[in-house]
Symmetry: C2
Subunit: 211 residues, 2 copies
């Protein structure tokens, strides 16, 4: 009881880490407590000293995952100078979301991957938290649009969902070592702000801007 990290805390953390990792990989229903326990270095029965049930364990994984990405994006905004451009505000939010997702965070990616297939009762418990995170983004986007940084004649809700989708889906294809997280964020922002299309030189008017 002397160290700030009691043995119980350490075991708890190991269990959560293992659970997040496996939930993310195989989904909730397909992951067995035996596997989680083994990955955490103990027997299945021992899990019940730390968690009341498999569902409870799941809920904590989901909670941690959402909290982490929420805090990361929130902090990205607070770290920014007060007079930053709205493009920069969105840019760092994108970077924060993506980095949390792809850099060692099994919790957040587990949340994103499995949430839709989790027992309905568990989903209900987390709707508030999800809404709060959505609200954070909605706020950033609305401010940007009102101040003229985003086109005023687009449906911001749709744009936001498409953006979140593009980012979230990266957990399905991103593999460390190929494309950097920064490069993905850059491409995302480029698409969002400027698009990657070029005036089609159909009849060809002026060809100065293109290399």
């Amino acid at each position: 009881m002397t160290s700030e990290q009691s043995k119980s805390d350490i075991s708890r953390a190991r269990i959560l880490d293992a659970a997040a990792k496996m939930f993310r990989q195989k989904g909730y229903a397909a992951t067995t407590l035996i596997e989680i326990a083994r990955a955490a270095g103990m027997q299945a029965g021992s899990l019940y000293y730390h968690f009341g049930s498999k569902d409870e364990l799941l809920e904590e994984v989901l909670d941690i995952g959402m909290r982490r990405v929420h805090e990361a994006v929130e902090e990205s905004q607070e770290r920014l100078p007060a007079d930053s451009s709205h493009r920069d505000r969105i840019r760092v939010a994108v970077e924060a979301h993506l980095t949390t997702l792809l850099k060692h965070d099994d919790y957040t990616s587990a949340n994103i991957r499995i949430f839709g297939q989790v027992p309905e009762e568990v989903q209900q418990h987390h709707i508030r938290q999800r809404d709060a995170y959505a609200e954070l983004w909605r706020h950033i986007f609305t401010k940007a649009q009102k101040s003229g940084a985003l086109s005023s004649d687009v449906n911001l809700g749709v744009v936001r969902m498409l953006l979140m989708g593009a980012l979230n889906w990266s957990v399905e294809w991103y593999r460390p070592g190929r494309t950097s997280i920064q490069a993905i964020a850059d491409h995302m922002c480029l698409m969002l702000f400027n698009g990657v299309g070029i005036e089609e030189p159909a009849q060809s008017r002026e060809n100065e801007t293109v290399t």
Copy 2:
């Protein structure tokens, strides 16, 4: 044996429909054969007259789902006049993908939602099919870039994955009746080609183009 649709074929289809629907909703492992059978109007044991195992049933659902979206996008290209712009080619591909996904197709959305959490052996069986679909998109994008319709200094692979993510993620949030599928496709293409950003009037140079 007289009708072109034998009783067996009808039952088979009912089972597949039920399976696709439930796989999509609850995931593979969490869906029981008892539920599928009930939704198809029969007993669990009867499923085995039509399918060798739960995995086999899953594989057929996945196969149908991928085939449908592949064919839809392929046909969208063939239907187009040969001299169509590359923007139009991409636009109809986006529309085809999205429409297949969101309009009654539990098969395709089941595939997209659960593929990452399906037994590894089953995944292996479908990699070829997935690659073929990716190749279809890669081809469309590469042609567009080579002919100057897409910026030449972006990583096309990343752009393509971000686009697919934005589209695929719609199965997580789209609900019929709110935003039309067409509107989503339009927003996606607008983002892809032009972006939704507006020149920030930070120090304000020329304000002619903005309303």
